[in-house]
Amino acid sequence: MSVPPWKKFAFPVFLLLLIALGIAGARLAMRDPQAHAHSAVEQLLFKPVEAFNFQLTDHNGQPVELKQFRGKTVFFAFGFTHCPSICPATLSHFTAIKEALPADVRDKVQFLFISVDPQRDSLERLKDYVTFYDPAFLGLTGDATALLGTAYKFKASYTKEKPEANDPQIYNVDHTADAYLIGPDGRWMMSYPFEELPKAQSIAGDIAKVATRSER
């Protein structure tokens, strides 16, 4: 039985093609690792969006809106003070990020922690909590509508979980734990997932870039 010549070559050709594809793929993946090392903020700087304003109350009882921080770079996250693991981690990462900022940039950055648990987080409690990490950190909260609106604008979300049967004051609040970077011009530059927050040096680099950019 004779085999047509195309059939004879089909498999080796197929193999060669596969190898060529593999090499091309690997080259693509490895192409210019420097370009990949550049932080994403540089690419995003070209099309940042105007951050929606929010109106809340700060831990000193003063009404506060995002707008009034114009000129400052804002870095913030959502949480609640009864949060035993995620929020202490977030806020301690904030302190590390602040430390990693160049000294001349540090004062141009406002760190905020927005409590989504107004039922239990009094302003006084919020202040004690937030300033434990850094006296210059500012806690914000508001009524349910204001908080829901604020979270919605940043694609954040939270839900109050079922309280314990014997105590309605004991409950968890599930919440997204991203951190947001707002430039001094009020534009939303970046979001960092919780898992990225330990990278204090790289985030501080992004913040410094954003904070000094508008001065040009």
């Binding site: 035993p84 693991s85 981690a89 301690s92 909590y129 939270y158 839900t159 968890n172 599930d174 919440h175």
Partner: protein, 142 residues
């Protein structure tokens, strides 16, 4: 010489070794603001045995209750869930860290001071109990 050293270690582990087939590395507790009543302990468990080992709970003098917990992620929202135990596979390691599994400490009787050691009694199955000292830290160690 090698044999002497080896037999020393074997001897030491026989003398000191309890029946708890679990080693705990770098235990620490998150320092939380004075008003916060709950915190969490983190550590690495090393299972030195050939069977899975479970940490089912524990107790501490500094707080009302100790319980194993996991972190959940639902549609991006992070939350916590009580679990009956944290399991360490045979011969395996499990690291507890913020954003992941932890030993929850409920109802602190007094604020913990950074640098302080918190004695923690863990219930391990099989094994019994083991006491560890967890260091209170303001930040997750690198």
């Amino acid at each position: 010489m090698k044999i002497i050293v080896l037999s020393f270690f074997l001897g030491a582990s026989w003398v000191l070794g309890s029946e708890v087939p679990l080693k705990v590395e770098s235990p620490w507790v998150f320092a939380v603001p004075p008003g916060a009543k709950d915190t969490a302990a983190f550590m690495t468990f090393v299972n030195t045995s050939t069977v899975p080992v479970r940490v089912t709970g524990g107790k501490t003098d500094v707080a009302a209750r100790v319980a194993p917990m996991i972190t959940t992620k639902t549609e991006g929202r992070m939350g916590m869930k009580d679990v009956p135990y944290l399991e360490v596979p045979a011969g395996g390691r499990v690291t507890l860290a913020p954003g992941g599994d932890h030993i929850m400490i409920y109802g602190l009787k007094a604020p913990l001071k950074p640098g302080q050691n918190v004695p923690l009694v863990l219930t391990v199955k099989p094994g019994g109990t083991m006491t560890i000292n967890a260091l209170v830290l303001r930040r997750e160690p690198k």
